[in-house]
């Protein structure tokens, strides 16, 4: 099993608010999570779910109220580890008095890159994020998409082992989203561990190996993108022959949501909690032939909606 790049154990955050700090709010309840080397992990949740709080705890901007954060096996602050983290915040606010190039040069110096190496990486990244010929303008004249691109460039400047992106695609036009998605995929191919938050589920499905659903400050589900809803039945379907209608006992008839026939076979759509065993017995008892039993599980979007609906009410 590959090494854990992010290890969160019982991580929680609470704040005291109000004039006299009399009220306590807890944006993040105890959370356990591991992200392994080379994984692309998507952190999804509605607004206010605690995604940004978790990310700020991960990068050391917030201090945990409880629990621990370990990045690359060490606790922050740690200079060596901080060199290996690339971070782009949700609202990428940069010094507006700088140009895009000056901002990247500032970050190169903070990373301790030798000047020539810094210049080499900046030139390559400006090209890679599609800002060649435009990065020398002042940041205050940049569009949202240009700021995001420069933000991604500064996150990649240290050639990080861990890339943490908070809503990297928010507010971007389709081209911008596509380009940033491609860069994340490139990083994934290079073996960079990517942890990113989003509420654009299609991006998460396209990019991520695993996904975590956060709602109300709690991690509700974690799993592989292609498996996460597999244990969650939405409905069941039984295809049988003959097409002639069966006479089902009253208790079972009520569990059939839909009945379709194509002249040769009948398909019965059943509720997730229907008594499938009893239905199959009944079909066989009435001389029917069972051709297929299908389990319809939840997709990421349905799972997301189910897990977050209560919090959004």
């Amino acid at each position: 099993m590959s090494e854990a790049v992010i290890e969160l154990r019982g991580l929680a955050k609470s704040f005291r608010v109000g004039l006299f700090h009399q009220r306590r709010v807890q944006p993040l309840r105890p959370l356990d999570l591991e992200v392994r080397r080379g994984e692309t992990f998507g952190f999804v949740g509605p607004n206010g779910a605690g995604k940004t709080t978790t990310i700020k705890l991960l990068v050391g901007l917030l201090r945990p109220s409880a629990g621990t954060v370990r990045i690359l096996g060490r606790t922050l602050p740690d200079r060596q580890v901080q060199r290996q983290i690339g971070f782009m915040p949700e609202v990428a606010n940069f010094y507006e008095y700088l140009s895009g190039l000056e901002l990247l040069q500032l970050h190169a110096r903070l990373l301790g890159l030798p000047p020539r190496e810094g210049q080499r990486r900046i030139a390559a990244l400006v090209e890679r994020v599609g800002m060649a010929g435009r990065a020398d303008r002042p940041l205050r004249k940049f569009s949202k998409g240009m700021v995001q691109r420069i933000g991604l460039a500064q996150a990649l400047l240290g050639e990080p082992q861990l890339l943490i992106l908070d809503e990297p695609m928010s507010g971007l036009d389709p081209t911008g989203r596509h380009d940033i998605r491609e860069i994340i995929l490139e990083e994934k191919r290079r073996g960079t561990t990517v942890f990113f938050s989003s509420h654009i589920l299609s991006d998460v499905e396209q990019l991520c190996d695993r996904v975590g659903i956060l709602a109300g400050g709690s991690l509700r589900k974690v799993g592989r993108v292609d498996e996460i809803g597999r244990d969650e039945l939405r409905s069941q379907e039984v295809v049988l022959r003959p097409a002639a209608p069966l006479t089902l006992p009253e208790g079972l008839a009520g569990q059939v949501l839909d009945r379709r026939t194509d002249g040769e076979t009948t398909a019965l759509l059943l509720a997730a909690d229907a008594d499938l065993g009893r239905l199959l017995q009944e079909i066989l008892a009435q001389g029917g032939q069972i051709l297929e039993v299908r389990r319809h599980t939840l997709g990421l979007e349905e799972l997301f909606l189910r897990e977050t609906r209560e919090e959004q009410r």
């Binding site: 704040f15 700020k56 990068v59 050391g60 901007l61 917030l62 201090r63 602050p77 200079r79 060596q80 901080q82 060199r83 983290i85 971070f87 782009m88 915040p89 609202v91 990428a92 606010n93 940069f94 010094y95 008095y97 700088l98 500032l106 970050h107 110096r109 903070l110 990373l111 301790g112 933000g151 500064q154 996150a155």
Partner: protein
């Protein structure tokens, strides 16, 4: 460690010198210094003294205004605009960030003091008054006073809004100039426990009166080297203490 502080200081300096308000304040200060030429002509054979008096006053006053105006925003603006989020994730400690902001501001004040001082010396030269030791000492100690004021501004900026930071820093500047008088007067007021408390608070203030030596410069009286060095040492120690507190406070806070 020094590299990280220097990178932040350089960027803070760059930010300040791209701020138009700084130039407006500098031009007003230079205008006031130039006005001393006219005021000097109106005086009776006292033009050199008037130029020194007005010039040193302008350096001190506008230095303090610049120190407070920019100093109170140094950390608050970074927090408010969230510009420090990507900076603090880099391999740089929070205390390095605070020190970098402070020393960046000190670079700005060095530049401002040099420009204002050079203009003052130029005007004196026009009046056949060469630069003398007392005048240069007064400019030096005025600059040292500014380093203390910026440290106080940075300290408040680490945990309060610019308005409160500005009010507190200005209050400490005024009371710091009056510290000697406060300590003389408070015991005579008969305030009991409240008086003791106020005296304790007054003792915590920086004694900025020590840095205000314009009257010596105007009349050409040279201060002893011991006085100048001990005053500078006092300023450095007070600044170090205030900055250490600012670093602790900033280091413990959550960056929202």
């Amino acid at each position: 460690m020094i590299r990280g502080v220097w990178v932040i200081a350089h960027n803070t300096f760059r930010e300040a010198i791209r701020n138009k308000i700084l130039y407006i304040l500098l031009f007003v200060a230079l205008g006031l210094i130039f006005s001393s030429l006219v005021l000097g002509k109106l005086s009776l054979d006292q033009s050199v003294r008037v130029i020194k008096d007005v010039g040193l006053g302008a350096i001190s006053l506008f230095g303090v205004v610049i120190a407070i105006f920019i100093g109170i925003n140094l950390l608050y603006q970074e927090l408010d605009r969230k510009t420090l989020h990507t900076i603090l994730v880099r391999p740089i400690a929070r205390f390095q960030f605070v020190l970098g902001k402070y020393f960046g501001m000190i670079l700005v004040l060095v530049l401002m003091t040099l420009v204002m001082g050079a203009v003052l010396l130029g005007l004196l030269h026009l009046n056949d008054a060469p630069p003398d030791g007392p005048l240069l000492t007064a400019i030096l100690l005025s600059f040292c006073e500014l380093t203390v004021v910026v440290a106080v501004a940075v300290f408040f900026s680490a945990f309060s809004s610019p308005f409160l930071s500005g009010a507190f820093t200005f209050g400490i500047f005024v009371l710091g100039r009056l510290k000697g008088e406060l300590l003389d007067v408070l015991p005579t007021l008969g305030l009991g426990l409240l008086g003791d408390l106020l005296e304790l608070l007054a003792r915590l203030l920086p004694n900025l009166y020590h840095f205000e030596v314009a009257s010596y410069a105007i009349y050409g009286n040279q201060l002893t080297a011991t006085y100048v060095l001990s005053t500078m040492l006092y300023g450095i120690c007070y600044t170090a203490l205030v900055l250490a507190l600012a670093c602790v406070l900033f280091g413990r806070r959550d960056i929202l």
